[in-house]
């Protein structure tokens, strides 16, 4: 009896909040009846074979054959990241990635770039917050050139000043351009406000265009950029680029045995160094370093771009599974609550979403984003805060739980959509030392999640009244916001 009452009370409350939704759910469409009668064959998944070995110097290697196209892809994951930067050299890891990508870790960048272009090789390097990756792809006929470039970049650094100066100027120019678009203004200021503390507060700078990304520099700080010199890069490389700190994965048109021989030959004289464990500084801020409403005025805008959120859970806790479901219901895709309330029902935005992000070494964030015409800025903010509040107080419905769980489990086959993707997952599992519950047992855990789990997790992690809300809009919008909200903090950037 008491159990039944427990179930009943939350349902009644939700009913009063969003009565129309529940009433509609009581009846189905003809289409959904047809779909539920459809019989689908059993899904066959072939797990691609791979080979893993560790060289005596500690280098981990994954190999996977993919003979369909005359192409080779290689990736190296390096145990590093901008989380381990020193405060007076913030941005070092990020800049190092860009310098490496530009050929700056070799004596002569021109020779490096000529070799890439002559063989049509694509090469990319990026140091993110908690990992570093290098990627190279080439035609099969250029396998040896590709491997040689990989070897040089990883094992034989000789950073050159010319490329470092070039990269710094490019970064400075990109920093100036942040003010051009509302999106990049948000991206550059939001983490700073929420995390408030180094190294978590550093912003990410995207270089190049969407179709031709030159790099993303994480943890960049305009004030410390000048402090970074060539010796820092050399030191950085020495510290992190050692064989026991690197995982290499190669997939493509080769015979495993032949490739294994080549790899052993190329990398066996890479000298092992003393193993060190890197730990980031602790994060002292709990929910947000700067809760409240912040407004950045920018001339000539007809639309406000806004983001809100706060610090959330660590990925490796077992709360992850319920949070995954919560994120899906809140704003993960079409049909989720935020798009439904703001776009579908009210037509107040084209672009609107909400996410819960995860990391391995530090806390992720809850973020909700929208773009709406200047006049409806306050209305959209209120709806979003309200939706996050409803989620915290009432959790989700049975129907939402069912949809989210089915969506998560049925789309998981996309993890096997490509051999390259499978190999990357294996490497990441290894790199982050992810527990089985987060990989092979993932779907079983998702399947067990109940509505109560989601409600508990929402109450534990959502703080709609302590969020940081950041808006970029035209100067007149400021007055409207000041009428609607108690305190609006103004940030001037121009």
């Amino acid at each position: 009896m008491s159990k039944a009452m427990n179930i009943l009370i939350p349902i009644l409350i939700i009913f009063s909040v969003c009565g129309t939704i529940l009433a509609e759910e009581s009846r189905e469409s003809r289409g959904s009846k047809i779909v539920s009668r459809m019989e689908f064959p059993k899904l066959k998944i072939v797990r691609p074979e791979f080979e893993k070995f560790i060289l005596s110097n500690g280098l981990t290697v994954y190999l996977m054959e993919d003979r369909g196209l005359p192409m080779i892809k290689m990736e190296a994951m390096v145990r590093t990241g901008s989380l381990y930067d020193k405060e007076d050299k913030a941005g070092l890891a990020g800049l190092a990635g860009y310098v490496i990508k530009s050929g700056g870790s070799l004596k002569d960048a021109d020779t490096f770039n000529r070799r890439l272009d002559e063989s049509g090789i694509s090469f990319y390097a990026e140091m993110e917050m908690e990992s570093g990756t290098l990627n190279l792809s080439c035609l099969k006929e250029d396998t040896d050139v590709g491997l040689e470039i990989f070897r040089q970049v990883l094992m034989n650094p000789c950073y050159n000043q010319k490329t470092l100066s070039f990269c710094k100027t490019q970064v400075e120019e990109a920093l100036k351009r942040i003010k051009d678009s509302p999106n990049s203004i948000l991206r550059n200021n939001f983490r700073k406000l929420v995390y408030g503390e180094f190294p978590y507060s550093g912003s990410n700078l995207v270089l190049g265009s969407r179709y031709n990304k030159e790099g993303t520099i994480t943890g960049i700080n305009p004030e410390t950029l000048a402090n970074i010199n060539i010796d820092d890069l050399t030191e950085f490389h020495k510290k992190y680029f050692c064989p026991q700190n690197v995982i290499i994965g190669i997939v493509g048109d080769f015979k495993k045995g032949d490739m294994a021989d080549k790899i052993k030959h190329i990398f066996s004289d890479w000298e092992k160094t003393v193993s060190r464990v890197f730990k980031p500084l602790p994060l002292n801020v709990k929910i947000s370093a700067n809760p409240g409403i912040f407004f950045i005025p920018k001339e000539q805008l007809t639309q406000s771009t806004l983001i809100m959120g706060h610090i959330c859970a660590d990925k490796l806790s077992d709360d992850y599974f319920a949070l995954e479901v919560l994120g899906e219901v809140l704003g993960g895709s079409f049909g989720s609550r935020l798009p439904t309330e703001i776009r579908v029902k009210r037509g107040l935005a084209y672009s609107v979403n909400g996410y819960l992000s995860w990391n391995y070494a530090y806390h992720g964030m809850l973020t909700a984003f929208a773009q709406t015409k200047s006049e409806s800025t306050a209305e959209v903010i209120k709806i979003m805060v309200d939706e996050i509040g409803k989620m915290k107080n009432f959790g989700i419905t049975d129907e939402e739980l069912k949809i989210a769980k089915e969506a998560i489990s049925n789309t998981s086959v996309f993890n096997f959509a490509s051999k390259n993707g499978v190999l990357q997952q294996l490497m990441r599992k290894d790199y982050f030392n992810a527990p089985e519950s987060h990989s092979t047992d993932y779907l079983r855990h998702i399947g067990k999640i109940t509505k109560d789990d989601v409600l508990n997790i929402a109450q534990k992690y959502l703080y709609p009244d302590k969020m940081t809300i950041l808006i970029v809009g035209n100067p007149e919008t400021q007055k409207n916001l000041e009428k609607e909200f108690d305190k609006v903090n103004i940030i001037i950037i121009d």
């Binding site: 129309t20 759910e25 009846r27 189905e28 469409s29 289409g31 959904s32 047809i34 779909v35 689908f40 899904l43 066959k44 072939v46 993919d66 369909g68 196209l69 530009s102 770039n113 000529r114 890439l116 272009d117 002559e118 063989s119 694509s122 792809s137 080439c138 120019e173 351009r177 003010k179 051009d180 678009s181 265009s209 179709y211 031709n212 001339e299 007809t302 639309q303 993960g332 895709s333 079409f334 439904t340 579908v344 029902k345 009210r346 037509g347 935005a349 084209y350 672009s351 773009q371 089915e406 969506a407 049925n410 789309t411 086959v413 996309f414 959509a417 490509s418 051999k419 390259n420 993707g421």
Partner: protein, 505 residues
Amino acid sequence: MLKKTIGIFVIAVIIQAVMLWTFGIKDSNNNRFRIDVKECILDNGLKILIVENPEIPIVVCRINYNVGAINEKEGMTGASHFLEHMMFKGTEIFGVKDGMREKETELFMEEDIFIEDIREFGEYSDPEISKENLISIRKNLDNAKILNDLDNIIKKGGGVGYNAFTNYDQTCYMWSVPSNKLELWFLVESDRMKNLVLRDFHTEIKVVLEERRMRVENSPSSRVSSGLMEQVLSGIPYGRPEWIIGSAKDIADFKRNEIAKYYKTYYTPNNAVMVLAGGVDNNKAIELAKKYFGNIPRSDIELIDNSIFNAPIQNEENRVIIKHPASDAAAIGYKTVPANHSDATILYFISKMLSGGKTSPFYESLIKTQIANELKTYSVGYKYAGMMEISFSPNGKHNIEEIEDIIYREIEKLKDGLILAEEIRRTKKQIKADFVRGLGSLDSLVGDIIDYESVIGDWRKINDFIPAIEKITKDDITAVANKYFIPQNKSMVIMRDSRKEAKNE
């Protein structure tokens, strides 16, 4: 091939580049740059193209309609893109409670009368009564519909990347399914082709106006690139100032019956092509296509009058200056040829040779020297027109004119035949490697097949691409450069930072 496109959903779950395992590529070494596609055309004209690979447990699916902004008449700009949005609002069997469909149509008609009234008089003619009535109609509509029905059915079925895009020539719908759920895709897409219901019509107008604010009004980069289209292709539909998304006025004035007519005209089997790639069996897919699409009647499609693409003769270069609170930027454009023209491959080659990689002339002379911060060269190919676009922004101390001079200097070199054999060899290799990389992603492969089919006219031409690239000589490049890179084809858009001027005053 690069085209400007806009879509339904900017925040869609982006499909990870899906790699092929062994797929339908012929296995002898000579044929490794060819793709093998199975083709079938139903009696009603629907074309089905399939790339089989039983090893992949998913299928990437797209259906493309040959309709886009160039088909729109005056007063209806943006209709193709708006209809694309409406395609996500359900059909006669999705999105409405079983049995409520007829009631819904009545309510739509009542709603439209009120909306017309508001549009005409600016407000309710009898404020109290009418407003109450409209609210009650909408309440009844809400009661009939099932919110997010189609989205949730697709989500539950494991569908990924449910999205679409519209450009000048085409409207394309895409989502991928686990390979055992292909029938779900056929059910949904066939129903959207025959039974669309224009639900949430007036709310979606607001959404598209928000999209317009985002893409057009508040985006400095699209001001430059769209401004360039307007100049280079002026006088023909590709250069219209309303772009793909349409004018705010036309969008706000859309009527349900007009969009319904547009849908009936263009969303027919003989105006569509579907491409399926991955874990799909050819015979089974054709069986499903017949079952779900076979009974949809073909219709007469209004043929486009080709004369509207005859661009007026330009006597000298066009030059436009925009002031905007963003960093200085500019773009140079040359009018070229449609995507199916034999010079299009050479123009693409030239764009890659000029700015592909870090040893290309534009990179060496502008980026490496840090005169420009960014520079992109694209050869853009549409069904009835084309252009070469070079866009850039200067670094701190440098200016647009300085960059312009260097660009012309490099173009003059091409015209004078000052091209090294090494540059040609390098570009051929880069294009070949990029082509194979593209084949390695199911999404990009399916996208290419759709583009070749709808813009160039035949997917088979993909297999002519690498041989055509291999054949390009120095003389071809010089001839094409002299033919197209002339003042009568040239336009330029310059965006000056209005903040600088404000400070100087």
